[in-house]
Symmetry: C2
Subunit: 187 residues, 2 copies
């Protein structure tokens, strides 16, 4: 089937959260605001063809489990690391969207003094929030002790940081990150 043409309207429609973040990262890189990249999808390459006079073709490969999160990089000298998640829900963010290996990685980064968070998009509301890893860990750990299996929207709105949409920085998380860094430095 032919690849569907991407819409290039001013709205967010047709773009995934990850694509919007990658465009933002490109803008941040060009403007010397931050250096953040999406990690490539890890694949196990089994068979490669090297035809004469043209590029190597991977003929057999398999998707591997990622051992980290989607994005990492450096901002104001600090290591930042985050996972992007979109939900169709309006009232809560289901923890089933998160994987244990992502939490393990974020806890390791946290312990090493890096700055970890999730960027959560409530798609039907067109609202995006930065949720610090500390808050995520509380809900994650509680779910195994009879706690709820999702994080309420109201909690994320209150404890997270709203991320505005801007034309050049579609998921403009730098200001939210500034607030998070100030809070971490106060404690």
């Amino acid at each position: 089937a032919p690849k569907q043409q991407k819409k290039t309207t001013f709205s967010n429609r047709g773009m995934t959260l990850e694509e919007d973040i990658s465009l933002t990262n490109k803008y941040y890189l060009d403007s010397q605001i931050a250096v953040v990249h999406k990690k490539p999808t890890p694949v196990q390459i089994v068979n490669v063809d090297y035809p004469k006079r043209s590029a190597a073709v991977i003929k057999e490969a398999y998707f591997k489990q990622a051992s980290t999160t989607d994005f990492n990089g450096v901002y104001r000298g600090k290591y930042i690391d985050f996972e992007a998640k979109e939900t169709r829900n309006k009232t809560s963010f289901p923890l089933s969207n998160v994987h244990q290996h992502q939490i393990d990685h974020m806890k390791a980064v946290d312990q090493q003094g890096g700055i970890c968070f999730m960027i959560i998009k409530f798609a039907p509301l067109e609202e995006v929030y930065l949720l610090p890893s500390k808050q995520l860990f509380i809900f994650w750990d509680e779910q195994w002790k009879g706690g709820r299996k999702s994080i309420p929207y109201a909690f994320i709105k209150k404890e997270g940081y709203h991320i505005p949409f801007h034309f050049q920085a579609r998921v403009d998380y730098a200001a939210a990150l500034d607030k998070l860094i100030s809070e971490l430095e106060e404690n």
Copy 2:
């Protein structure tokens, strides 16, 4: 052809520098010394098969140019980023081993306050050094102005930091990094 069995002797033979660094990173992660990962090779996936009852098979894909370096992560709260390079030379490290996009990325990270370096292995000497990006940039930029096309071994030995081989941390770069961080903090 059957895959060649890896030797598991105490020596470095049969292991690439990248494999040795990845084993070191695993040890650092398990010991809570640092969180550093190798970035997956980026591939452009064109065609995927989804057979019933088994894993998806990538049937056609192409290697993409990496836009960053081999490794990045967090150490003592700091963002670190580096490229690993092996040379068969004994007297100098040829700059042809380095790509412009790697330099561009390292300069962007440097500007953002991250810590960048190269880990260079002189294979015939079995010696490994950490060379700070600052020194690399000098030789890189000079080569276009009539400067030499390689970095002398003697320079790397003097201005870089020797990285010892240890059984659990085969490329034990943490102590070298401590020295680099102290020097950066003094200036």
